[in-house]
Amino acid sequence: MAGNTQGITNAMVKIKNVKKIYETSRGNVAALDGVSLDIQKNEFVCLVGPSGCGKSTLLNILAGLEQVTEGEVLVNEQPVTGPSSDRGIVFQQYALFPWLTVEKNIAYGLRNKKLTPQERNDITDHYIAMVGLDEFRKSYPKELSGGMKQRVAIARAYAVNPMLLLLDEPFGALDAQTRSQLQAELLTTWEKEHKTCFFITHDVEEAVLLAQRVVIMSNRPAKIKKIVEIDIPHPRTQATRMESQFVELKNEIWSEVYIEYLAQKK
């Protein structure tokens, strides 16, 4: 929160030795095997790893949608016990309410906040404008393209002003062009507001472009394999992808992920 004066040493999110074991009919499956990670306030952290390694499990635990088997997750020193509007999610499948228009989808989370109707409308208008969907405010999700749907989902998550934004492969279902467009938009928004983001992807280039730190996860049962600082200055643009530092970091991370991918195949 704003009153936090202890500075960067006091992380906003503390994931402490988290283990997650699923009980299935074929026995226990360990998804996370002692994951520890701190996320600072205003930081943009990307998590990459081979598919099925437990990235989403970690995100769901952070959101409070799943419980840890062992270990602890603290957000602002408070243990996470369940979902809360302090931690917003953007899902890969958009998860828009199909019976609500664009503006009502964006305003959904505001209904639970103590706001005057005027404030509610102002906030909604602000985020509709942020994602550039003024023309479509009265449209239903079925009338929107995939990219537009995801813009609505991002605006909806932002509108409730969460402390932490969790993004679960949000651009995974989009075509390449739309994806790079939305990456650029997200980047611009972050450069303006510095909302703390935890972003899951399997696209290494996306991770390097967006993040300040890229966290690489191992195969299941997942551990944190390596954390790479991305000290490429902001603002970053499409041209950033061409810089040698960017390419080097991308290759470094990609080789780490690839080793895990090969190990998984065996």
């Binding site: 959101a63 409070g64 949608l65 979902p83 809360s84 509007s85 931690r87 917003g88 999610i89 899902f91 499948q93 998860a95 309410f97 199909p98 019976w99 609500l100 959904y108 989370g109 639970n112 906040k113 239903y140 999700p141 079925k142 909806r156 409730v160």
Partner: protein
């Protein structure tokens, strides 16, 4: 422009459809089969006669009253039961097998049982219609409740909704299309069961009118009764269709 010509051709074909159908009917009634298939003219005459002495309205009214009260009672009970089934596993495991079992029995089979228990008054008929409608609707609505996209529930939760809000802001609207399908199925079950119940014993009602007329070989009245039931069924179905268009236009549907 194109839309206009298209709607005009739709009207044209609808008129053509009625004309062809009436022609076939007139033709059949002019042959030997005419003893059974009264001509449209005779059916209209029968209608005018029954409308003048008011008998037809009493038949229509009492049939509609039975069908709709059975249907509405069933609707009111089916909603909470199907939502409970979709929400609480133990409730579903206890209730579902019985719903499926009784639904597989044609109502005609248990009509005599209910008539013996409740007599041939109104309550017996409403009970039969209630049972048939209830079972059909419970199954349809339950499908909707369990079919709610789990990600939507998660999304609502992280946007700050509690269980109760999730129920009426996510589960309810999300199952609305299935509720309307349930209403359509329920109405058609109501009509089917109504006539079956009235044929087995009633003082008034369209089913009774048909039954009585057939005993005196008044085939024009029999046909009249059949057609009125058809019209009622058609109109009720259209009414739900209008509701459907107004309430669930947000659904992704393919265009035909």
């Amino acid at each position: 422009m194109k839309k206009k010509t298209r709607s005009r051709s739709t009207v044209l074909y609808s008129v053509l459809s009625v004309v062809i159908f009436m022609a076939i009917w007139m033709f059949i009634s002019s042959t030997k089969a005419g003893r059974i298939f009264a001509s449209p003219v005779r059916v209209v005459e029968a209608f005018v006669k029954k409308a003048q002495n008011g008998a037809i309205w009493i038949h229509i009214f009492s049939s509609l009253y039975r069908a709709l009260s059975g249907f509405l009672l069933a609707f009111a009970c089916a909603l909470p039961v199907s939502f409970l089934m979709g929400w609480y596993r133990p409730f579903r495991l206890i209730v579902e097998p019985w719903v499926k079992f009784i639904k597989s029995i044609p109502p005609i089979a248990y009509i005599p049982l209910i008539i013996v228990a409740q007599g041939i008054g109104e309550s017996a008929k409403i009970t039969v219609i209630f049972i048939a409608c209830f079972l059909v609707m419970v199954i349809a609505v339950y499908q909707g409740v369990v079919g709610v996209d789990n990600t939507l529930i998660k999304a609502a939760r992280v946007l700050g909704s509690n269980d109760f809000q999730i129920f009426y802001r996510v589960i309810m609207p999300s199952s609305l299309p299935h509720i309307l399908v349930g209403m359509r199925l329920g109405l058609s079950a109501a009509l089917t069961t109504l006539i079956a119940a009235e044929l087995t014993g009633a003082q008034v009602g369209l089913g009774q009118m048909i039954q009585e007329a057939s005993m005196y070989f008044q085939m024009d009245v029999v046909l009249l009764g059949i057609i009125i039931i058809g019209i009622i069924g058609f109109l009720l179905d259209r009414m739900v269709a209008v509701l459907e268009r107004r309430l669930t236009g947000w659904q992704e549907t393919r265009k035909v």
